[in-house]
Every structure is written in structure tokens, then in C-alpha cells.
């Protein structure tokens, strides 16, 4: 083999293990899932499923689970808005104002990740519980009715989503704000931009790559999540993740679960591409 040929082949050789892994553990199950979403819905796990190309599964699940679907994106969207309100100032402060505390603060942002997702969410369940100190305090100051609750409300679920996925938003945002050259802000201020205008015209556009990345990293897992609704909500707060979970593990309705999974994936992909296209046309360098 000549050197040149070897050089040409090398990238493919390097790609081989990853590609094989993806094909085996992602491609095959995905195809299997796609097939399952088109099975005859009258079948069952015990009697076996027949492949009938039942495209009707899709409109059926949308009709049946429309509330959970819209709730998923509604809650995830609300949580995203909250996370942006909390996360942007946080990332900004860490990147530009924290000085020597920067690394410590970053560790603090990531620290919750050292414990399991489930444990953290269960901790919130305790904090928000009816007999907890928080509810007691809120009732005492009449911010909450005497029989009002925090747990098992949409509020608790959105709060949980915000809390659990906040670091995914903060870290990319931090990275792009940290990179921002402060001399550009001085130039803006030299060119008659007030602090607010400098933020809007320079800081915000230049942090857009981090904003897009953080939004996606937050929104994708948040909209598919089922743990927060399960632990902090009631069936009234169930999101599409809960339905898929029960379709596969409780009701054993594979065609329905598969169709819902694909639907969720399609919507998220649409959101991602929409986001990236927009970011692309506004030309983030």
C-alpha cells in the first residue's frame, strides 16, 4: 500500500469503530422502533404484532395524547424561559465579573451533577412537600392558601425541569461570554452605545452561539423528560415522556410508544434545525 493510499484510508479506519457502534446500538434499534410504530395496533406483546404499515398510529396517538404532547413542550418552554432568566445573568456574572472566583463558581454550577438525577429530584420532592418548611413559611405569610400546595402542581414540575437542566444552558453560555473581548464593549461605549445598547448590540449577538447551544442542550432533554413529572407532579402534569414510559413498560402497547417516540424526535429535530437555521442566517461567526 502506498503512503498516499494509507493517508486516504486513515480517516475511514478511525471512523470505523464509532460507526459500527452507532449502527449496532443506535441504527438497529431505531429501525426496530420505526417498524414497531407501524405495527397493527390491535396486536399485543403476548399474541405478537403484525406489520401492517399502520400509518394511522400517528394521528391516533396525537389525538389520544394531545394534552401530554402540548404539555411537554409547554413545560419545557416555560422551564427554558425561567432558565434563561436565571442562567444568562449567572453565566454573565461568572464569565465577566467573578474574577478569581470564576473556577469555584463554575464548580458550583456543575456540583449538583455529582449526585444522581433521581436523588436530586427526590430532594426537591422533600423540599416542596406539604409538611415541609417552605410550604409552611409560604402559608404563614399568606403567599399560599392554608390548603395550598407546591408539590404535585405544574409549578413543581417546571421548577424541577429548570433546576435539573440549568447547567446545560449555563455552561455553553459561559463559554461564549468568557470569550467576548472586553475591548469590543469599550469600543461600543466609545461609539455612543449606552450600557444597555452595548449589551443588545454587542454582548447579546456575540453570545448567540452559546445561547443556541445552551437552548438546545436544555430543551431537548427537558421536553422528553418524565422523571420530574413523575416525582413532582400528578398524572395531571404528565408529559409525553411519561406516556411513552407507560406505553412501553406498563401498558405494553409497543406501536403506540414507538409512534410517540418518533413523533417526539421529529418535533425536537424540527426545533433544532429551526434554531440552527436561524442562528445561521444571523451569521454567528
Amino acid at each position: 500500500m502506498t503512503r498516499l493510499a494509507r493517508h486516504r484510508l486513515l480517516p475511514y479506519l478511525l471512523l470505523l469503530p464509532g460507526t459500527a457502534w452507532l449502527l449496532l446500538f443506535f441504527g438497529v434499534p431505531l429501525a426496530q422502533l420505526a417498524a414497531a410504530s407501524l405495527y397493527d395496533p390491535t396486536g399485543s406483546l403476548s399474541t405478537g404484532y403484525a406489520m401492517t404499515w399502520a400509518l394511522g398510529n400517528y394521528p391516533d396517538v396525537v389525538q389520544a395524547y394531545w394534552p401530554q404532547l402540548s404539555r411537554s413542550f409547554g413545560y419545557a418552554g416555560l422551564a427554558l424561559a425561567l432558565a434563561l432568566l436565571l442562567g444568562y445573568p449567572l453565566a454573565y456574572a461568572i464569565a465577566r465579573k467573578a474574577g478569581r472566583w470564576k473556577n469555584l463558581l463554575l464548580v458550583c454550577v456543575v456540583a449538583p451533577m455529582f449526585t444522581s438525577f433521581l436523588v436530586r429530584t427526590l430532594a426537591w420532592k422533600t423540599i416542596l412537600s406539604d409538611s415541609g418548611a417552605l410550604v409552611g413559611l409560604l402559608r404563614d405569610v399568606h403567599l399560599l392558601a392554608p390548603d395550598g400546595r407546591l408539590l404535585a402542581t405544574p409549578f413543581a414540575v417546571v421548577l424541577g425541569l429548570t433546576y435539573n437542566f440549568l447547567p446545560f444552558l449555563v455552561l455553553p453560555l459561559y463559554a461564549s461570554l468568557e470569550r467576548l473581548d472586553h475591548r469590543l464593549l469599550e469600543a461600543a461605549s466609545d461609539l455612543y452605545a449606552s450600557p444597555v445598547q452595548a449589551f443588545r448590540r454587542v454582548t447579546l449577538p456575540l453570545s448567540r452561539p452559546g445561547l443556541v447551544a445552551g437552548t438546545l442542550l436544555f430543551f431537548i432533554p427537558a421536553s422528553g423528560d418524565y422523571v420530574n413529572a413523575e416525582l413532582l407532579g400528578t398524572p395531571n402534569e404528565y408529559m409525553i415522556g411519561n406516556v411513552i414510559d407507560s406505553a412501553f413498560l406498563v401498558r405494553l402497547d409497543y406501536p403506540q410508544g414507538a409512534a410517540l417516540s418518533f413523533l417526539l424526535m421529529a418535533v425536537i429535530l424540527a426545533v433544532v434545525f429551526g434554531c440552527l437555521r436561524r442562528a445561521g442566517t444571523e451569521e454567528v461567526w
Binding site: 469599550e186 461609539l191 455612543y192
Partner: protein, 368 residues
Amino acid sequence: MTGMARETPAGDLRLANLTRRFGALSAVDDLSLTVGQGSFFALLGASGCGKTTTLRMIAGLEEPTSGRVLLGDRDITALRPYRRPVNTVFQSYALFPHLSVFENVAFGLRRRGIRPVDGEVTRMLSLVQLDGYGSRRPAQLSGGEQQRVALARALVNRPQVLLLDEPLGALDLTLRRRMQVELKRIQTEVGVTFVHVTHDQEEAITMADTVAVMNAGRIEQQGAPADIYEFPATAFVANFLGQSNLLAGEAAGVSGGDVVVTAQGARFSVPVGRARAERGPVQLGVRPEKLRLVGSADQVPQGHQHVTGVVTDASYLGVSTQYLLRTGWGAELSVFVANSGTSTPVPVGSTAAACWDPRHAFLLSASS
């Protein structure tokens, strides 16, 4: 145009006892100066002497520890940078990478709510010879082009004062010379006060109406370039702006319109008008190009003064040849001899005398 630049009458820029301390270091130390309206003022000085800090205080990007900045009758010391009719061409350009060249130039106009901007921006881009570059990104420009965008971005606002922080530092010699001519032309054309920081003394001398030489946070001397060059006030200035031969000596008072100086056993004289001290320890200065090299003391022209020594080095510089003459007491004089084709080269190792007309010498107080 209805910008703030036109609302208030422009005036002289005055810095009064301006001081900026960073911890124990006085980056700018009790600095006072006046820059005439519409003039081209060059600030010259070694690295770290406080030039950028001075400009930043004028722009409002750095807060003075004490002192005031005045524009005409207006005290702008406490004014936020975005409220000052002052714009800066930054050393690093600081162009907005996410905006096109056009939007970079339009930035200041838009922030002040001026509309439409197209005419102004296009005119300014053509002034800096960047017609048709409007839609490019800063990353797609060469260093010289970026520099011109930075200039256009500041100039389009027609500020009362334009601050230039070594804007030509990154350019090659040809482009730098071209931009110097360009800058000077623009300055004359728009009549804006320019405060120009530079390391390049030739640039300062050729472009500026007034040059100020800064050293360790203070102004050592300011004035017209020729005045400073011909009659420097301190040894620092004498050697920072061009080269000088300085001989340590002792002044013994005035005699017949001349200050009499004794240096290394020989007597010299300097006209009173060119002496900064008349008594006590002094330094006698002569520029290398004011010295002439002759074979021996007999050949020194009438009325000239001289020192003798051995030629230790001759370096050909193109337009001239630089000779080093080591005197009997160990001082080394530098002599420029123009390569006019009429002088014969002096061989290294031969003895020679360097002579000068006393009217070309200057006398500095040794303590400076």
C-alpha cells in the same frame, strides 16, 4: 447632521493636573496640556510611559485618580464615554466581528439615532478608499484595511476630538507612509482635533503640528516638531527624538552673549538663546548631522568648535554614513556625513576632529 458633535461648539482640549495611579505606580502623573482645536497633536514616548492611559482618560474609559479633562469650557471628567464627543481608533482596532464593515462604520451614527446613515457611511468608506467593502466582515480584511475601517468608524461621527492609539503600528512601512499622508489629508479635510499616539518619531515629526514627549507619566517637552528637535529641553527628549551627542561639562556664566562651558579641559561656548542653564553642571549637546568630520584640528573652519578623537566605526546608512569618534577621555560621538558624493570616506582607525558651529549646539541642565 444633528449629532452631538455639532450641538456644542468645539474648543481646545485641556488636561489639567491629570493623574492616574495603579497601586503605587503613577501611570500618568500630574499631566497638564492643551491641544488646540483642529490641531494635530502627537504624543510620543517610550513603552509604558502612560500614553494609552492618557488617551483612555480623555475617552472616558479610565477614571482619573485626580485632575480634570476639559473640552472648551466644558468639564467632561465625569461624563460617561458614550456621552463624550470623542472617538477612538484603538490600537487593536476592536472592530465588531459580527457586523459588516458597513454596520461597523454606521454603529456610532445608529446609536445616536441618526437616520439615514447610508450617505454618510458610503462617503466615509470612500474617504478611506474602501468603496465596495461595505458587505465584508472584519475577518475578511487585511490588517491595513481593518485599520482604515477603524478610522472610518470613528471619523464618521465627526467627533470634536479623535484619539488615535498607535493606529499604524501594525502596518508595513510602505502602507504606513501612505496612511500617514492619508490621515493628514483627512485631518485637514474634516478639521477634527487629532491626538495621535505613536512610537514612530518620524511619524510624529512629519504629521503633527505639536509634539509632546512623555516620560514616566509626565510631559517632558511639547512644542512644534522642529522646535523640539532643534532645541530639546531635556536629555531624555534629546535622545528620544532623534539622536544627540551629549558632553558633560561645567557652565561658568555668560560672557558676551555666550555661555562658557568647560568640558574635559576644553572650552566651548553656546549662544545664550540656546542654553537652558548658565551655571553649574550641564550637558553640551550637538546633533550628529550638525557635526562635520575633518582630518585635524588645523582644518576646523573659523568660528567652529571641535573635539578630536579616533574613528572607531563607520557604518554606511544609504543617505549618510555614520562615524563613531572616540575622544581622548572615552566619550563616543556620532557623526552623520551625508553621502553627497563630495566627501571622501574616512578610514576607521585614523584620527579626526569633529567640529560644529556653536549656533547648532544646545546646553541642557545636567539634572534634567
